[in-house]
Amino acid sequence: MATSASSFRSKYRAATDHVVTGLAILATVLVVVPLVAIFVYLLLKGASSLNLDFFIKNPVPEGESGGGMANAIVGSGVLLGIASLIGIPIGIGAGIYLAEYGRGTKLANAVRFTADVLNGVPSIVMGLAAYSLIVIPQHHFSAFSGGVALGIMMIPTVARTTEEMLLMVPNMIREAALGLGLSNWRSVLSITVKTASPGIITGCMLAFARVAGETAPLIFTALGNAFWSVNPNREIEALPLQIWVYATGPYEDQHRLAWAGALVLIVLIVLAVSLVRYVTSRGVLKGAS
């Protein structure tokens, strides 16, 4: 039997429930709106300048119309390839150390702290670091130095997500592996890391997507290159660099290409991330958690 007090309480509970649900929905909308807005705006501004030339031609001299960003698209690919080769293995290795070997040690705490600080270092400082470590000794700009700057930026994100994901693997899984007579390294690589791999891959993709749009670290390193180049030892163009140069330039034609470049950059990042997700999810079994 409902007394008036208890019916008031149940109404109050229902109202609270509605308010909290409403706030959650509002927050979701606030997250999605800017993303959709940016994408729609890019489509409106950039799609009209997209044509086959954009993907297969190099830039034309200032003032001339036409031309494309083929060299920048490929250059971004080369830079991100170098960055991933550096950032992902080192990041995952550091994450494995933090979670599986160094737990509670002073070195691990120092590494974790360093990674967090590194994550907060402005990206232009990464560019300056790569400039002084690689460009100055070599006496020339290069795709390699740009890749290193981006790779270093990937390390903290990859390392910390790897650590977090490994810590989420229940200890009883490690015990099961050791109990079968597996050596420690075997258990870490084939059981613990494998169990955490979906989360680790997500971390790598986050880091990848983040540096894919970076301009500042490339200014003193990759420099930019108006011509086609895939040589890691030479200057190279990158989409964000080209967008920045065109967007700040005086010509209307360049502005349009910059919009198109930004659209292409976003689409390529989404494609790359989706492709990795698709490839890595194919082997997942029914009921695997």
């Binding site: 899984i173 099961a176 109990g179 079994l285 029914k286 009921g287």
Partner: protein, 252 residues
């Protein structure tokens, strides 16, 4: 075939906590031996000392000798080698969640470098039959994850995984405590069958379970072994007052 286990003056610590004190007992080959006692009495620590899992905790320490068959496990061999001869089944089912049923059973062999595919198939089948799971999973061996099975099936999968490495001893740390009564009785039937081939040591909170499956029972209290005798004697005519108090439900 199973081998006997001789434990002499075994002491174990977690940090400064002396969790096992001067344990000496002989566990007979090809029998099931049950260890009972209240929570925190050291019975789980004891079985973890029999395959050197205890020392995987950095603050843990052990002294004393444990002979399994002809091997002194604390001086003759590396932990990795011992754990292949002494299998373990844990309290909560812990199949490898990203692996198929087949790969779960084959994990111990495959990851130790065993490559012969055909005999691997045979070992997986035999292990699953020995753990009474084969008929339930034979059609999904490679398509379903070990984590997709029910709790009771998962625990039998873990038993199959332990059997696949062909151990001589099987340690079971409360293997049925997280399972429903039907799954529990399946595990108990299994223990009954397996002891012809393996020496089984089972930790249990459930005294009826000890009475049903084990020929020998040890009663642990506060890190010491109070009494070790035939299960029948422990449950009908214990020599120690504390054993009697425990099995009649006066504490614990």
């Amino acid at each position: 075939m199973g081998v006997g286990i001789e434990v002499t003056n075994l002491n174990a610590w977690y940090g400064t906590n002396h969790t096992l004190q001067d344990i000496t007992l002989n566990i007979p080959a090809n029998h099931a031996t049950a260890l009972i006692g209240p929570s925190g009495c050291g019975k789980s620590t004891f079985v973890r000392c029999l395959n050197r899992m205890h020392e995987t905790n950095p603050i843990a320490r052990v002294t004393g000798t444990v002979r399994i068959g002809d091997m002194d496990i604390y001086s003759d061999a590396a932990p990795v080698e011992i754990r292949r001869r002494v299998g373990m089944v844990f309290q909560r089912p812990n199949p490898f969640p990203t692996m198929s049923i087949y790969d779960n059973v084959a994990a111990g062999l495959k990851l130790n470098g065993y490559k012969n595919k055909r005999s691997l198939d045979e070992i997986v089948e035999r292990s699953l039959k020995n753990s009474a799971l084969w008929d339930e999973v034979k059609d999904d061996l490679k398509s379903k994850s070990g984590a997709s099975l029910s709790g009771g099936q998962q625990q039998r999968l873990c038993i199959a995984r332990a059997l696949a490495v062909d151990p001589e001893v099987l340690l079971m740390d409360e293997p049925a405590s997280a399972l429903d009564p039907v799954s529990t009785s399946k595990i108990e039937d299994l223990i009954f069958q397996l002891k012809s081939q393996y020496t089984i040591v089972i930790v249990t909170h459930n005294m009826q379970q000890a009475a049903r499956v084990a020929e020998k029972t040890g009663f642990f209290l506060n890190g010491r072994m109070v009494e070790f005798d035939s299960t029948h004697k422990i449950f009908t005519n214990p020599s120690d007052k504390r054993t009697e108090d425990y099995i009649t439900g006066r504490f614990g």
